[in-house]
Amino acid sequence: MSQEIHLILSNLTTEDVSTYYVLIGKIINEDFSVLSSKISTIKLLIFRFENIVLENVKKEIEEFLGGKVVNVSDNRPITIRFTANPPKACLEINLSTFEKLEDWEQRLAIRHECAHMLLYQQSKTLVSLLAKYGEEKIKGFIRFYDEYEVHALIIERWMDDWLKNPLDLIAQCQTLPLSLPRLGNLEAAKNQCCLRFKT
């Protein structure tokens, strides 16, 4: 069974985005064929950041994702928003940056986001931790585990591509002072590398 992908257009025509729509459909259906039994619907938003009128699509996506607030990113080439019960996903491609990637990078980025959909799972311990500590304190741990799992899958299936751009500390992190006598220094460093790690 092939996965249905519903295209959302904002400031581009179907013709403008057809290459990417075909590419994503091909990757989802060939490399992630199991997804169709896991994700009920995938919406695909393809836009250019410079002149997107978000209001035109925001309501549709927010309703689709059960009220999740949508703010498209100016520099992230690809983003996935995901909601459970029933599992649905909205994949966003920002052509302003995405089309600057090389072919293999585009494929790798799409596969990375598809792997997030494929590996999504829930945990009772996580639910209790969220109740005890709150989302703000726990979300970093969730993110790092998700990224670990996704990268492990990518390494297993597309190792050579992964090795061209392996997960790394971002450049700023590598230049942080490595002798940190007090935790206060780390707090100061936090602002320099709030994104901390490239994913």
Binding site: T125, Y145, L169, L176, R182, L186
Partner: protein
């Protein structure tokens, strides 16, 4: 405090990923691995200034602990308990 622990957790998972690369291909990530190890040691030393109970990062997760979300979060819960009871 959470920031340091989260970064240590991330570095541990990063190193586990590096370990999964076959030996003949490991050369391309050698420098990244060294940097990650160095940064991990620094973060851990800083953490131990105020929290002496934290085990060595090598003991935070086994391979099995990273094989499921449930096992991972059980370990995270233990780490958070150490912060609550310094």
């Amino acid at each position: 405090m959470l920031f340091e622990i989260q970064n240590i957790v991330h570095l541990i998972t990063l190193l586990k990923l590096y370990e999964s690369i076959p030996d003949e291909k490991k050369n391309s990530i050698r420098v990244k691995k060294l940097n990650a190890k160095k940064y991990l040691r620094s973060l851990y030393s800083a953490l131990c200034v105020d929290y002496k109970k934290f085990p060595q990062p090598t003991d935070w997760f086994s391979k099995q602990d990273l094989s499921s979300l449930e096992a991972y979060f059980q370990k995270i819960e233990k780490l958070l308990t150490i912060i609550d009871n310094p």
